[in-house]
């Protein structure tokens, strides 16, 4: 106001809105610059350096850390490829499972609220973090609590491990082992998949509940069966959410701290004090995860377009 009184050019509404907008996002900008950009650049620089942990002095060493991480370290390579293939399988399985569960929970039956509450429970407990604690922290064979509990019980009661004997039988019968291995991997990690899909189930479920009922009524009047209207209405209407869920799942998988690559990185950082190598490893990992997210969104966007 005072500006207009002094005869200067008044601010346009646009400029004023822009300034207000910047004021609103100011916390983010500050935090991003101070707590994100700076450490990121620092860690990027560190990945090209030989860091002396005592005085924290750095010496430029070029690509040496990257070379070490990729070619010299005995584990990193293997862990990285393992985690990527596990990520691909787990993401697909999570999408399928959360979709199926959302379809089931979308129906009307007794105890629906309870079932929904239980499926969401692992999100509240960050079950991956807490329940994974025992196996990860103590260096015991990395088995999830459920499976180890059950197989212990089975073994103790004098029986044999069901999955293992089934696996052995199928292997002996000589049916394509590689394909079965993938299936067994999924079965073994079914617990991890279920506890990691709470959010995805809710997202799919809310998508399904947002579909107007009139669509189904119209389809029913036209003589559409339930199965048909599922594929012609529910699936196409919810499929845009596939992308959201896929990206959420991938990010969740990559940033989980009980991920084995993450563990390797913190081990190198805090146990061996090789800051440079650890930074190089995390940058390689970050690059890979960006690539994966990009690939997933490309595939799903193309796929969704085809469906439509």
């Amino acid at each position: 106001m005072s500006m207009t009184q002094h005869g200067k050019k008044p601010m346009t509404i646009r400029t004023r809105r822009a300034i207000t907008g910047y004021l609103f996002i100011l916390p983010f900008i500050l935090g991003f610059l101070v707590f994100m950009v700076r450490p990121l650049l620092n860690s990027f620089y560190m990945s090209f350096c030989d860091v002396n942990p005592n005085g924290l002095t750095m010496e430029w060493s070029g690509m040496a850390n990257y070379k070490y991480a990729l070619f010299a370290d005995p584990e990193y390579n293997r862990l990285l490829t393992e985690e990527i293939s596990r990520m691909v399988i787990n993401t697909l399985a999570t999408l399928v499972l959360s979709f199926v569960v959302a379809v089931i929970l979308n129906g009307k039956f007794k105890g629906r609220t309870l079932a929904r509450a239980i499926f969401f429970l692992p999100v509240i407990f960050s079950a991956g973090v807490l329940l994974g604690l025992d196996s990860n922290m103590l260096g015991i064979e990395a088995q999830n609590t459920l499976m180890s509990g059950i197989s212990d019980a089975v073994n103790e009661s004098g029986g044999v491990n069901l999955t293992e004997s089934l696996q052995a039988m199928l292997r002996a019968s000589g049916i394509g082992t590689r394909a079965f291995q993938v299936v067994f991997d999924i079965i073994d990690s079914v617990y991890d998949i279920v506890i990691a899909s709470g959010i995805q189930i809710i997202v799919f479920l809310s998508g399904m509940q947002n579909i107007p009922a009139s669509l189904y009524e119209a389809a029913h009047v036209e003589g559409c069966s339930g199965w048909e209207s599922f594929w012609k209405i529910t699936f196409p209407m919810v499929s845009p959410l596939l992308l959201v869920n896929a990206i959420y799942t991938i990010i969740d998988f990559f940033t989980k701290s009980n991920n084995r690559v993450m563990e390797k990185i913190s081990e190198i950082m805090y146990a061996n004090y090789k800051f440079g190598v650890a930074s190089a490893m995390s940058w390689i990992y970050f690059g890979v995860s960006i690539l994966m997210i990009g690939a997933a969104s490309l595939i799903i966007t193309l796929g969704v377009k085809n469906v439509e």
Binding site: I29, I118, N144
Partner: protein, 337 residues
């Protein structure tokens, strides 16, 4: 079934008569529906059991005496019920439960409030205002979601051990601050949208605001309300559900978080920070009582189970009372673009 039908309405046909009239369609449909609900029930029961079972197992293990652990005939239920494990875990030597609970509570509460405040402001800014470089800054939000916090933890750690804001503090007091064991750095991070999963909250809140019609704000502007006043008086009351939701998530995720706790809050005795050290402390306890043998893995597992149960019971209570708050706004904001 036929009894009931005839009693109420004498004219009504029995199930089998109706079935004959529909050429077997009725039976088929009823059987199909029955089969669907049986399969659905089995599937849901199996999956729900799978989620609940580890918790029940931990609960049962935590109530066993040490003798029960080594008894092979005891598998599911404890033979000698005891609270001793809880008492031991609550004692200052192992988990320091009450103090840790208190610390965890106020840390989670204050960080969640800071996070929600900062993220609501930012989310509103992204949802309602047009400004230069908006796309760029939003891409930065996405980047914050994607970057694993581990990537920057080392440099943040080093940064906080000699903390300075653009050389100001050194100029005033002559030296940099060591904030490694204080709450300040993490509070600062939360207040500037860099806490645990803040990118996600910004995204969710932005989506939510975008779903609210603009007309209310326009009316407020016409009546001469400023932007901040409008935000405070008109928009915030509408945003209560999404803020509650984000607050609850921030609270429970901070409660169980190990990563940020280990890196920035080492000076505090917290529940999630104390859990992994249980083995070491059990061994120490044993060596002070004069025994040199290591505590058995099973015993350590038992104490960890006890600790985990003690950690999540408050969350369970919260969930029972605030379940709607968690889920409701997720479905209204839809998380979609």
């Amino acid at each position: 079934m036929s009894n009931e039908a005839t009693r109420r309405e004498p004219k009504r046909q029995t199930f089998w008569e109706r079935n004959r009239k529909s050429h077997g369609m009725l039976l088929k449909r009823t059987a199909g529906q029955g089969a669907v609900s049986v399969i659905r029930g089995l599937l849901l029961f199996g999956l729900c059991f799978m989620i609940i079972q580890p918790l029940l197992m931990k609960l049962s293990i935590s109530l066993m005496t040490e003798g029960d652990l080594y008894d092979t005939t005891v598998t599911l239920l404890p033979r000698h019920l005891t609270w001793a494990n809880y008492e031991l875990a609550a004692s200052p030597t192992i988990l320091n439960y009450w103090k840790s609970l208190f610390n965890t509570f106020w840390i989670s509460l204050s960080t969640a409030i800071l996070q929600v405040a900062a993220c609501t402001l930012t989310g509103y800014g992204f949802a309602r205002f047009d400004f230069p470089l908006k796309k760029f800054w939003f891409a930065c939000v996405i980047l914050v979601i994607i970057i694993p916090p581990q990537t920057i933890s080392t440099s943040l750690y080093m940064y906080f051990s000699s903390f300075d804001i653009f050389g100001v503090i050194r100029a005033v007091s002559g030296r940099t601050l060591n904030l490694r064991n204080s709450f300040t750095p993490y509070a600062l991070m939360c207040a500037t949208c860099m806490g645990l999963k803040d990118g996600l909250y910004i995204f969710m809140i932005r989506q939510y605001f975008k779903g609210i019609p603009v007309s209310l704000e326009e009316a407020a502007y016409v009546d001469g309300c400023g932007a901040f006043h409008t935000f405070w008086k008109v928009m915030l009351p509408d945003a209560v559900p999404i803020m509650t939701s984000c607050f609850l998530f921030a609270f429970v995720w901070q409660w169980t978080d190990r990563f940020y706790t280990n890196n920035f809050l080492r000076g505090f005795s917290t529940l999630s920070g104390n859990l992994p050290g249980i083995q070491q402390r059990l061994n120490q306890l044993k060596s002070t009582t004069g025994q040199s043998l290591q505590v058995s893995i099973t015993r350590v597992q038992q104490m960890i189970s006890t600790g985990v149960i003690m950690t999540i019971v408050p969350l369970l209570i919260l969930y029972v009372f605030a379940q709607r708050g968690f889920v409701e706004s997720l479905s209204t904001s839809g998380l979609k673009d």
